[in-house]
Every structure is written in structure tokens, then in C-alpha cells.
Symmetry: C2
Subunit: 447 residues, 2 copies
């Protein structure tokens, strides 16, 4: 790989220019800004690389960029996204979010860590591979979508419709980062999600709160219902839900024990004295990665501005986010919740699903994982920290596990990358290491 | 009173013109609009009447209009307010809210029912009395404030500072209305109030909801705390609070039994199948008038717009309104609530008082009440429905009961007056009856 590395060094300036060009194009899925333009930039870059590439339309959404290049016994699927989070709050940025700036070895821009840097590093790695080592030893397939930051609403149906295009022997998932102690990480799966709203109704319009003596209050209805869903010790009480939660295997507990968990730094960063239940160490990590959640993401009722308004609200709404471990299917959660509420006299409370997604889990001994660990060792000179699961969610299940493809996630971020936050940035050194890692992964997985 | 009535008829057109002039002047306390101008209009009208009148400043607020006229053994205090509710939502008004229109015997304008109609009817009654029956048989004192619609924040300190100006033998309180069956009503008191906020805090900024496994959620903290304050059967559980709630006396239960309670019309208007606990009749009325409330007026946490945002909120806030019966002091409620929360491990939840006010209660056998009942009988040809208490609140206690003055409330509204709502209106017939009632009250209370 000597020649590969030399090529990357020789082309470093152009590679960074290409990354800046990608970051200059706003592509904000939540606001529908610049998505078509960004899809075209990505298509053109893959075309320039020599890939067979096309834009595949999805209903009411920006297109998926699909590309293929190379041939071999194995196929590597690469999943990335070309959309980014909104840049707000703008006043906390040191530079313009869509005017990339390099400062002291870092490049600042919205999307540079999540996910344009990874997207492009992988393309440039293929370029370097072919320029120095010859044709690819495997087939690479790219699926690059434009709606990841809004929950990938079309990706499950895209995957079902285009299953034949997606068959692969392993998948490199979108992102990852070095941890607080500069150790590279890889993740073997992610949690599922069921996001829904509960709605309660009282009188047909807001009333003077003097009437609260006799007219039902939907905000109280929600409080009473919610208090049956989770206790003060953070135990989820939805009837039957925890029966579907498996204990981690011995192998998984082994992985947890090997994760260097920087919990004090984490608590300091969040400004909290303790984790829930006062958990520490591997017990905290176990809850974090192997237990589901039931989270109030939003609660709205009545008058919420400054000062006092003596109002009896006519409606109340709560947004709940359940993060799901394997076996806990999104639809099952909705069903269990409905039954739970009905049993307790809360049949009046509406359950309105917003979106759901399955968890995904790749076996530790899958060939793609072995190749990834070996490639990390070669490029970074140390073993990766292996997370059996990420606590977040994403469309990994329909795109990979449902089709029998093992997947893992890693990327060019670091602990200070501020993805989804102002001053998002990556370090140039991590970026070039990331390119070398992808070259090494291709070499090892292809042979 | 024949001559009095003839005078009112002869001057009807001018009286309505004066009312329109008052209603043309916006005077919105919540928005600080037009209050000085309105105070001056009121001062000028009392001056024209022949009263000794002045504007008494209050800290940071619009002035109180204070007036005196007449002499006699007794003094009648009249309390009104010259401010009005904001007119929103504007698009539901048939006419401009500050361009009064007469249609089919009704006059439409913001404030015409609450409280400019009552304010002016009482002034015009005094004018008619003096024009036809000679000097007043008692002293009338007016206290007309400009902040009733925002909770009269300065009236308690005003009353304490100017106690000598406020001594009286009886007080005619600001407003009231005929009920759904056209029966005149009077009320002998009102509930107190304690409005406050509960605030809970989690991490120092909003986080990705994947972290809800281990980072505490302030919205859940509030839900758990709230669920200890009131049960699903609407029983207030705050430690010790209900010990301060007295059962109504036999006389009060007698008054309740005499109130024709149009509960089916009420439920239909609110669009609810049942009252709380399925209460009906006198039991519903008893809870409505003699029990305190603990009402969620507002609840805000996290993301409350359309769609899904997977956020773990850093703060959560609820606005609570306690309506208070006699013996339940506002400060006591705050103290009991704080102790209740501390005892249950919710010391982290802030209790932030917004404003409080005492309940007030006038004995049924007070001379002013006897005079009022007799005057109703004379003018309306029937006995009034007597409410021992209103379920609402107001500054009655510091202005009257604290100074030993019995007070009652009545007014020129009807069941369709839409106070605080679009298309606020009164019927001209009720207006002139209201003027006659005040003349009759003065005659009976003064002799």
C-alpha cells in the first residue's frame, strides 16, 4: 500500500478542495434546500471516478445516488448520505457553515463530519486504489441518500423495491469517530426506533381555568397515562415490553468490558452529577447499548409563553421516542402500548405513530468485520474499540440485515467533531487516515 | 323611581353613544395599549358627573381612577376596571373589536360586557338618580383600575396604601350576567388563586435522544412529580392541602340547591360527555364552588412542532393554577407543595410562584346583599339566583373583605356575552335594566 499512500499524499490538496466544494453546497433535508444540486455533485464525482452511476428517484424525496464500480468475488456496499443537519444556531458558528475554512489542521463546515467527509474519503480511496494498485479486487456499490437527517423516510421502501441492486457481502456504514482517547472505533449495529405521539382531548375549546373543577383536563390525562409507562427509577412499565429484551451474550459483555468508557468526561460535558440510577462503568454501558428507552421528546399543552394565563387546555400532546433493541419490533411496541393504555382506562388517548425502524446487528465474526479490524490495525497501529451496537438509529436494517448483508460503521470524525452542532469539523490527519483505511479494507475484503 | 326610568329612556341614545365612545378606545392591559388614554376618558366622565375624581398612580402600572360623590350614613364602594382582554383571534370577529356596532338590539365590542358596560351603566345610574331624585342618599366611592385582565398585580398594595379611601358599608363588584334561563344572578365572593411554575432541569443542553438511556430527562421528572399531586379521580394529593378545605355550611348548601344549574347545556357547549367523576346536579356545583383546583394550564418540554425530532430535553416547565377556597391561603399552598415535593425526592424541581390572591366571601345577611336582592326583585320581577362564591378569582379580598366591607357582584351580561372571546356583546335591554338596578340599589341601600 506504499504507492497508495504516496498517491494520497500527492493529491492531498486536490482531495481537500473537492471536500470543500461538497461542503460549499448546502443540502439541508429538513428544509428541502439544495438537495437536487448536491445529488448532482455526488453523481458527477462518481461518474468522474469511472463508476456506473445514476439517480434513482424516490416518492416525494430527493433521489438516491446509486453507483457501481469494479468486479470480484465479493461485493462491498457503501452507504452514505449527502444531506446535512440545519446549521442553526448560526450565531454560535465561528465561520460561515457553508464556506469551509481550514484552520490549524482542521476543516470547519456543516456536514464535513456528518457525512460528506466520509462520503468523499471513500470515493477518493477507490480512486487512489485504482491509480496505484490496478482494478478493484471486488465490486463496490454505493447507496447515497439525501434524507438521513430526517429519518430516511423512503429508504425502507427503496430497499424493498431495489433489493437486487443491494446484494452484497458486507456493508461499510456511514459514520464513526475516534473516541475521547484517540482510539478508532467500529460499531456492529444500531438500535431500532418507534417515534409516536400521544394525544388527549378535553373540551372542544380552551376554557377559563375556573372550570377545571368539573371539566376534564387533557394535560392531566397525559400525565396520569405517562406515569404508568415508566417509573422514577427509569424502568419501562409498558405491559410485556421488557419481556422482549434479551440479556447481552457473554461475547457482547466481553465487548462492553473492552470499551474504554470515558464516563466522567461525558458527565462533565453534559453537566450532570450522575447517570440514571447512579450507574457507572460497564453497567451504564450495558443499559446504554442493550436496553430500550421510552423518552419524552416533547410535551405541549395550554399556555407556554411568559407569564400567567389561567387556561384549561382543550388538547395535550406528547412525543415519545422508543429506542429498540433486537426482538423489539416497532409495530410490537405500538401494539403493546395501545393495550397497556386500554387496560388502564386510557382508551381516550390517541396513539399516533410517526415513524419506526428496526434495530440491526452484525455478528462479530462476519468476514467484513474481520477485514475491518485488520485494516484498523494496519492503518492506526492499534485495535479498534468495537461497539456491539450504537445507541442511535438509522436505516441499516432494511438496507443490509434484511438482505443478509453484515454491516459495520466507522468514520473520520473525532470526539470534538460537533456533528449536528455549530463549528462541525474534522481533522485533516483523520481524513487522510480514513482514506487509507478504506483502501486497506478494500484490499483485505477483496482478497 | 318612575322619573328615574323616564330619564333613562329619554337619554338612552346618548348613554349608548357614551358606551360606544368608551369601547372605541382600545385599553389592553396585557399589551400596554391605550391605558392612559382610557383612564383619562373615565376620569373626565366622572368629572362631568360632578364627582371629585383623581388618578392615583401605581408602581409601573396604569393609574387607578378614584372618585367620590354624595353623602349619607352609608358608603357604597363601586369596583370596576377600564382595561380589556386582547381581541385575538381577530379573524373570528364579525366586526372590528374597537369599532362598536349595534345590531338587532345588541352592541358588539371588545370590553362592552367586561367591563366597560358595567362601569358606565353605574355612572349613568348616578346621573339619572341626581337628575330625577335629588342628591344621593349615600356616598359613592369608585375604584376603577386598569390591570384586572392581567391579575390586578398592583391592587393589593394600592388597597393597603389607600385603606382610608376605601372604607365603605358595601361594595358593588365589577360584573355578572343573566344565566342561560334569563335569571339575574348575584355572587357573594370568589375563589383565591395561586399560579406558579414547576421547572425541572437535566443536561445543560438538549441532547440526542439516544442518550436517554443514562442521562436524566426533566420532562419525565415533571410527569412523575405531577402524578403525585393529583390522582386520576381528580383528588388533590398535596400533603395537607385538603385539610384546609371546609365543607359548605347548611346555608351554603341551601344556596347551591336553589341554583338552577343548566348542566346539560353546559356540557353540550363544552363538547364533553360527562363532568369530572361523572358528577351531576348539586354535587357538581358543590365541587365547582367549594373545592380547590390544581390545574395544568401549560406544559412545555423539548420539541413541540410538527414531525419528529429525537431530542432529550434539557429543561421542562409546567404552569399550575390552584383555585383556592376560604382558609386556603396562597402562601400556604406554595409551602405545602414545596414540602410535598421534597418529601418525595423532588427537591430538584423548582417551584416558582407567579401570583397569588386570597378568596373572598360575603355573608348572605349583609345589608348590601339584602338591598341587592330587593333591588333585583323590583327591577327584574324575580329573585336573583345567589351564588355563594364565583369559581373565578379577582382582587376582591384586599379591596373589601380585608377592610371589613361586604361585597357582591352582578352585571349587565347574559349567557351569550362572550366575555374574553370574539364577538363580545351585550343586549341593550340588559344594559338599561342594569342602570335601573343600580338606581334601585342606591335608593334601597341609602335609606
Amino acid at each position: 500500500m506504499e504507492k497508495f499512500n504516496t498517491y494520497v499524499e500527492a493529491n492531498a490538496e486536490r482531495f481537500i478542495e473537492e471536500l470543500k466544494e461538497f461542503c460549499r453546497q448546502p443540502s439541508i433535508a429538513a428544509q428541502g434546500i439544495g438537495l437536487e444540486e448536491m445529488a448532482e455533485l455526488v453523481r458527477a464525482r462518481l461518474d468522474k471516478l469511472g463508476a456506473e452511476v445514476r439517480l434513482i428517484p424516490v416518492d416525494d424525496g430527493p433521489p438516491v445516488v446509486y453507483g457501481e464500480l469494479g468486479d470480484g468475488q465479493r461485493t462491498l456496499l457503501i452507504y452514505d448520505h449527502y444531506d446535512v443537519q440545519p446549521p442553526d444556531p448560526l450565531d454560535l458558528w465561528e465561520f460561515e457553515p457553508f464556506d469551509p475554512q481550514v484552520r490549524e489542521g482542521k476543516i470547519y463546515a456543516r456536514g464535513v463530519a456528518d457525512n460528506k467527509g466520509n462520503l468523499l474519503a471513500r470515493v477518493q480511496a477507490v480512486e487512489a486504489y485504482r491509480a496505484t494498485l490496478g482494478e478493484l479486487p471486488l465490486k463496490v456499490k454505493w447507496v447515497i441518500e439525501g434524507e438521513e437527517e430526517v429519518g430516511s423516510p423512503h429508504l425502507a421502501s427503496f430497499a424493498a423495491e431495489h433489493a437486487a441492486l443491494l446484494t452484497a457481502d458486507g456493508c461499510l456504514w456511514e459514520a464513526g469517530q475516534k473516541d475521547e482517547s484517540e482510539r478508532p472505533t467500529i460499531s456492529l449495529g444500531l438500535k431500532g426506533i418507534m417515534y409516536l405521539e400521544l394525544k388527549a382531548h378535553g373540551a372542544k375549546s380552551d376554557l377559563h381555568s375556573a372550570l377545571a373543577t368539573i371539566v376534564p383536563n387533557p394535560a392531566w390525562r397525559l400525565v396520569w397515562a405517562l406515569s404508568t409507562l415508566k417509573d422514577e427509577n427509569d424502568n419501562i412499565l409498558v405491559d410485556g415490553l421488557m419481556d422482549h429484551v434479551a440479556e447481552p451474550t457473554a461475547a457482547e459483555m466481553g465487548m462492553l468490558a473492552a470499551i474504554p468508557f470515558e464516563e466522567e468526561k461525558m458527565r462533565a460535558r453534559f453537566g450532570i452529577p450522575h447517570f440514571i440510577r447512579g450507574l457507572t462503568g460497564v453497567e451504564a454501558l450495558k443499559k446504554h447499548l442493550f436496553e430500550p428507552t421510552c423518552t419524552i421528546c416533547g410535551f405541549k399543552a395550554g399556555y407556554i409563553e411568559e407569564g400567567a394565563k389561567t387556561v384549561l387546555p382543550s388538547t395535550a400532546m406528547v412525543k415519545l421516542d422508543f429506542r429498540l433493541v433486537p426482538n423489539l419490533e416497532p409495530d410490537l411496541v405500538v401494539r403493546l402500548l395501545r393495550q397497556h393504555l386500554d387496560r388502564r382506562g386510557f382508551a381516550d388517548i390517541e396513539v399516533v405513530p410517526t415513524h419506526g425502524g428496526h434495530s440491526a446487528k452484525t455478528p462479530f465474526d462476519a468476514p467484513i468485520v474481520k477485514a475491518a479490524i485488520a485494516a484498523v490495525h494496519t492503518v492506526y497501529g492499534q485495535d479498534p474499540v468495537v461497539y456491539p451496537l450504537m445507541a442511535g438509529s438509522g436505516p441499516m436494517y432494511p438496507l443490509t440485515q434484511a438482505l443478509g448483508t453484515p454491516a459495520f460503521s466507522t468514520g473520520i470524525g473525532y470526539a470534538g467533531s460537533s456533528a449536528h452542532a455549530p463549528n462541525e469539523n474534522i481533522r485533516l490527519k483523520d481524513y487522510f487516515e480514513g482514506i487509507r483505511f478504506v483502501g486497506e479494507l478494500i484490499r483485505r475484503f477483496g482478497t
